[in-house]
């Protein structure tokens, strides 16, 4: 079912806003994670991890889910479809783990924020977790960069399913 032009513009705007917002939230999260790992001032470190907890729950998680939802609406409401073109399918395959992994790891992030709120963290405290937060945020940012590049370049390539559907629709329109 193809969307009307007005609805298409609205859905596209919503998808762009949520996707770019998600990218920005992850970029901010990465900055905080690096500062939390590297900064010498314990007050700054504490503030960073508290802010990361808030950013994770109130920006990254809702924006990522909204981006996925609006993306699915855009796919299903246009001729691009969900699995007809490889660039759409690859984007979905890439972004699903980018959404699931932060959701699964929000507990350790919240634990980190809670620990920071209650005590002054020394550089050795939870060091492995602090390093991994930087690594995961960096990886998420890279995934979102690639997803954005796929959206703007839309590289060619029909999936076998899309190839069949396209031919069926052309045949049906000729009858």
């Amino acid at each position: 079912m193809t969307m009307t032009p007005g609805l298409h513009k609205f859905a596209l705007t919503a998808h762009v806003i949520t996707s770019v917002g998600w990218f920005g939230a992850v970029a901010g999260f990465l900055v905080l994670a690096v500062a939390g790992l590297m900064h010498a001032d314990p007050q700054v470190v504490r503030a960073c991890y508290i802010a990361m907890g808030l950013t994770g729950w109130f920006a990254i998680v809702p924006l990522s889910l909204a981006s996925l939802l609006t993306g699915i609406v855009m796919s299903l409401g246009t001729t691009w479809g969900l699995f007809r073109h490889y660039w759409v399918a690859v984007k979905i395959v890439m972004t699903l783990p980018a959404i699931a992994l932060p959701l699964l790891h929000m507990q350790p992030i919240s634990r980190m924020a809670g620990a920071a709120a209650q005590t002054t963290l020394s550089p050795a405290d939870l060091s492995a977790l602090r390093v991994q937060l930087v690594a995961y945020a960096g990886a998420a940012l890279l995934v979102l960069l690639v997803a954005t590049a796929l959206s703007t370049s839309k590289p060619r390539g029909w999936t076998p399913y899309g190839w069949r559907k396209q031919h069926e629709q052309r045949t049906a329109s000729q009858l």
């Binding site: 890439m94 699964l104 634990r111 492995a128 977790l129 991994q132 937060l133 390539g157 076998p160 190839w163």
Partner: protein, 44 residues
């Protein structure tokens, strides 16, 4: 119904992405299976 034209094949860039994805998943699983997870947390 006219015969379906031959499928042009999967583009090379999809294979490249697939290889990269497999490599990332393998590295990720190895880190988690060797105890390199996030502070020894338990999922769920």
């Amino acid at each position: 119904m006219p015969e379906l034209p031959p499928y042009p094949g999967t583009p090379r860039w999809v294979y490249v992405f697939g290889l990269i994805a497999v490599a990332v998943v393998v590295v990720f699983l190895l880190r988690h299976l060797t105890g390199g997870g996030m502070g020894n947390h338990v999922h769920g």
